[in-house]
Amino acid sequence: MSSSLLLAAAGEVGGDFFKERTSDTLPCQAKPNEPFCFDWARENIDRFGTPTVQHLELVVISVLIGFAIAFAIALFAHRRSWLQPPLLAATGVLYTIPSIAFFFLLLPVTGIGKDTAIIALAAYTLQIIYRNTMLGLANVPASTKDAARGMGYTDRQILWRVELPLAIPEIVAGLRVAIVSTIAIATLAVFIGGGGLGTQIYGGGNLTFPTSVFIALAIVLLMAMVFHVALLVAQRFLTPWRKARVA
């Protein structure tokens, strides 16, 4: 790590605060009130490795499960409009219940550990993915569907070859929001023994110290940004026709 370069740069910006400590100053301790201790960070960065991997695992599995369920129910409700308000309400309930409460509501049934966390996190993503999928499908122009039907596409062909491709932008947007939100909320998994970066913020029944929190926070934000950008790129790639504008 070019930490000396980083510190020198930070020194320019932050003045005294970020200056590299010289040998005659005491190495900083990661104290409860110390905003950021570079020494501690440098030495202890590897303890963030496993929590990061756990965190990723929680997020990816939860979102995949959430997507699979939400997408499936959206397809089911697509041509049955009477189902839509109750489904929206049901997924809304799961979204509204604060995650930490959700963990402990599940506790008597599924116990401690990452499985409980995954169930709760997946439930949280259902509404946004379901709603965005429905929105995407609803935005397909009626005339396009009329033309497809009149040309001889079956209902199923219309869904898979016309409606869903055209709904991709909204669906991917929903997925993107779901992932970013889940990355943030997965920090709470620590309360239910699910691991993740939350363990570096709250461990053993107490809040840790700012340096640790900042690093965990940075990793979370970085993760969120990476996924956000990756999904934007994926969406562009999947919808080449949107770049084309009227000649």
């Binding site: 122009p141 005339s143 396009t144 569907k145 009329d146 033309a147 497809a148 039907r149 009149g150 040309m151 001889g152 596409y153 079956t154 062909q157 016309v162 491709p165 055209l166 919808t239 026709w241 084309a244 504008r245 009227v246 000649a247």
Partner: protein, 390 residues
């Protein structure tokens, strides 16, 4: 294009549509036959059931009772999706797939029918040419095309699998009037070549008269008040409803049925480049000259422009005439369009040329209005007119 029959007849037999919850049928026992290869226009006020009637042919509206036969087979015997792949379908809002290229859009039905990729691609290119679009557009997306181009693609898409019947529901309704006329003419020229059976729905009687081989004037319940050729409709409306719908200015509407060649044209005094102007002025002085200006033509008798007084003031006829040609008409042009061109171009005269652009005669608004006032225009006797397509 191929040796198989290109089109089938369409027959409505007591076809009825009643929507659930409705006391009145939307289409009440419609019986109508459309001969193969003809354009039948269903025209009437909104809500009369014309679109519903058209949609019962490909079962995008299900038939309540009665039947629709394509050729000899009932549409009710077929599975709807299968049936529709054999019927061309063009709608007002066009409905191209935004996420597919133009070629892919055109090839949609062939693909559904399982054609090979190469075959489909070739067919798409063929059709692009047929509808007069640059084949390079095949790789563009619909959003990159204008409305007129999109609708052309819509027509090409409907023709791709060489259907027996075409259904067209106000296909040019969403296009601006100038392009609409162009598209109408192009479609008529296309139809002259491919001769499909077309069911064409419109609320515009002028479009009906221009496009239809036969016209069914409908009122609520899909009731046909008259089913006849355009000429019959104009000359012998069956009742007050038809008369009102067709409009009082039937004489003007007759112009849609005439071609420029049907009328007696005037002759303009001709002038050649380099000719002595004295000769030209002599022609002008003649008592039975009909046109006030000399027409400058080249060696092949192709018009170049009109000569003004200033031009004639010189010794010899100049190469560049003072006044431009203005609208130039052909013998095959529909008279109504010719009148419109004359009026729009604010031209008193328009040269009429043949296929090689050689001058035949001159048309003026006066000639047309004289014709409209003549007993010939108002009589019920009428020489057989050919449709404005060959």
């Amino acid at each position: 294009m191929n040796d198989q029959p290109a089109a089938s007849s369409v027959r409505y037999e007591e076809t009825t549509k009643v929507y659930p919850g409705s006391s009145e049928p939307a289409v009440d026992h419609l019986s109508l036959e459309v001969p193969a290869g003809e354009i039948c226009v269903l025209v009437g006020p909104s809500g009369c059931g014309k679109t519903t009637a058209m949609r019962m042919v490909n079962r995008t509206v299900e038939i309540t009772s009665g039947d629709v036969l394509i050729g000899d087979s009932s549409v009710r015997d077929r599975e709807p999706a299968q049936l529709r792949r054999e019927i061309g379908y063009v709608i007002q809002q066009i409905g191209l797939f935004p996420h597919r290229t133009i070629s892919e859009n055109i090839g949609a039905v062939p693909q559904l029918l399982g054609w090979k990729k190469e075959q489909t691609r070739e067919r798409a290119a063929e059709l692009l040419e047929l509808i007069g679009l640059d084949p390079a557009l095949g790789d563009r997306y619909p959003a990159q095309l204008s409305g007129g181009q999109q609708q052309r693609v819509g027509v090409a898409r409907a023709l791709a699998a060489d259907p027996l019947v075409m259904l067209m529901d106000e296909p040019f309704g969403a296009i601006d009037p100038i392009n609409r006329e162009r598209l109408q003419n192009e479609f008529l020229r296309l139809q002259a070549e491919i001769r499909k059976t077309v069911l064409f729905v419109t609320h515009d009687i002028d479009e009906a008269i221009k496009m239809g081989d036969r016209i069914a004037v409908m009122r609520e319940g899909g009731r046909v008040e008259q089913y006849a050729t355009p000429a019959e409709l104009l000359m012998a409306p069956a009742n007050e409803f038809v008369e009102d719908f067709v409009g009082a200015d039937r004489a003007l509407k007759r112009l849609a049925l005439m071609r420029v060649r049907d009328i007696n044209l005037w002759e303009a005094p001709l002038a050649h480049v380099g000719q002595a102007t004295a000769e030209v002025r002599a022609k002008l002085a003649s008592p039975d000259v009909e046109v006030a200006y000399p027409l400058l033509v080249d060696d092949e008798r192709r018009p170049l422009g009109w000569l003004s007084e200033r031009d004639l003031a010189a010794e010899i006829v100049p190469g560049r005439p003072d006044s431009p040609l203005g609208p130039v008409l052909e013998l095959d042009d529909v008279m109504r369009d010719a009148l419109a061109d004359l009026l729009q171009g604010e031209a008193q005269y328009a040269p009429v040329v043949d296929h090689q652009r050689r001058i035949i005669g001159v048309l003026s608004v006066e000639i047309i209005s004289e014709f409209l006032k003549s007993p010939e225009a108002k009589s019920d006797e009428h020489p057989a007119v050919e449709r404005p397509h060959e």
